[in-house]
Symmetry: C2
Subunit: 334 residues, 2 copies
Amino acid sequence: MRKGKHTYKADEDIYVAGTYSIVGPTEGKGRFGCFFDDVLEDDEWECKTHEKTEIKMHKHAIEQVIARADKQRTDIDCLIGGDLLNQLVASSFASREFEIPFVGVYSACASFGEAMSLAMFMLGRGNMRTAVCCTGSHYGAVERQFRYPLELGTQPTPASQYTVTGAGSVLLSLEGKQGMPKLTHCTIGKIVDYGICDPNNMGAAMAPAAADTILTHLKDTGRGEDYYDYIFTGDLGKFGRETVYYLCKKEGYDLSGCLNDCGSLIYADKQKDVQGGSGAGCSSVVFASYIYKEMCEGNIKRVLLVPTGALLSKDSSLQGESIPGIAHAVAFEV
Amino acid sequence: MRKGKHTYKADEDIYVAGTYSIVGPTEGKGRFGCFFDDVLEDDEWECKTHEKTEIKMHKHAIEQVIARADKQRTDIDCLIGGDLLNQLVASSFASREFEIPFVGVYSACASFGEAMSLAMFMLGRGNMRTAVCCTGSHYGAVERQFRYPLELGTQPTPASQYTVTGAGSVLLSLEGKQGMPKLTHCTIGKIVDYGICDPNNMGAAMAPAAADTILTHLKDTGRGEDYYDYIFTGDLGKFGRETVYYLCKKEGYDLSGCLNDCGSLIYADKQKDVQGGSGAGCSSVVFASYIYKEMCEGNIKRVLLVPTGALLSKDSSLQGESIPGIAHAVAFEV
């Protein structure tokens, strides 16, 4: 049922029946290290290229989330996947062996939010019963695709972020148990463009879209800033999180007590991460590890997850285009 | 309501309340020339790059489908868009000015099928009322991204296809009139990989997926091969269409009376198109022009549209990967 203009409510109970996260060694040494299901020993994982490592992580995340929820591949009605590689090759090559209907999504690093929003519409009312959403990214593959190959040793700028190596998956199902988090609402985001042109400053490009989606969600549902224990944006970084705080404050919402950013948190303070983490795997691995486990423990009751994406390609930047942002919000309660 | 394993039925009447198609000059001289809403005089349309032309066509197709259906931008609950450019820049840059929630989809040239399948789940039951789906492609932009820049004058191989320059959009709505085609079912396709590695032979890569989706749809719905006036695959080309015919025949379905391919048909016989057209714009412009108009006239009553996609990137081919295929089916009746 619709709540407000762009926010929709699940018709039936949709349980997050399982999650799985796999990350690279840098992420493993970060703040959520003990929450991840698997931490790789190196960034290659016996693969010849970073792209192949990303495919392998993605495939492993799908396999494991199905196995750990005691399901069979044939129980899954749909795989919804996204990543940052050109033509979504990580998601689609990872999904080809499962013989499960596949939906490829792209909202840059907001793809995890898009995937779960779409799953909310597809599950229930006699349609699908179970779907797996998975998104991931790989530092080496993303750097050379959007910026420069790692071998060049390019220095990060003060506003830059470090792409998360990892893949996170969730299994959404109409069947669940008491105490499992439920997906209750989604807000599909609009593209917002403030004219930022620096591909090393993603936080600035995405923050206006994140603020727009959060404000739309709160207004549509009539909820105050204190409704959620936490609002987690995807990968705005430290400056970007400040910008969202400021933009929401201007509209009368003080998010100081609840606003957090997966990207700002994923690395430990001692790690040289500049603004924090980013990438399609950033919000998915943090949700699939820390947030999900804390919800299952009852330590967090209500979360609004707002993965954020910067819409650019190497070509669009070279052709002088600005970087529009997008953010999709999904609400969970336990 | 679910019909069979991977086929879903619309809960409410979903009308195709309008369509719009814009194509390049080559497509304008093809078989459906008189059905397209707009034909460009040249491939540039006053833009500096082919990518910018593609964005402009895409934006125009969204604007026009809304205007011609006598709707306002604020009436549209969601834009669903896809294209072949890296990071979907055509769809997302075209959509940024509309201030409408945006969902980016990618199944290569099957994106039009994915977009309409998702719209079927999102519309109705108190959720969305109106959505616009739009996909497009540009010959020049796609050639230089996946193969070689046009300036190189590379010769096509006998199995190659010509990417359609064009964008096609549909406006799906719960409000409609008697005589308007309705979207009734969708079948989400699985990724099928027969190990084809030649990026100049897309038909061979996609045909197994197309056959799989068509057979799944017919078995799920219990329909025979004579139920549909036409089954239109997306862009298999002439060899690819033959392959689907053969694969379905082996399973006991003789599609000789109904199987057609948008890509095989879009160019006139006298045009040097080798196998026919391809691209995310191929099935969308043919559906938005010829198929839709013939359905509105009552000349075609039942159509199964099966856009087909080859999942590859330049990197995946260079790294020795094969080319998996995917196809999503959407059924229309008037």
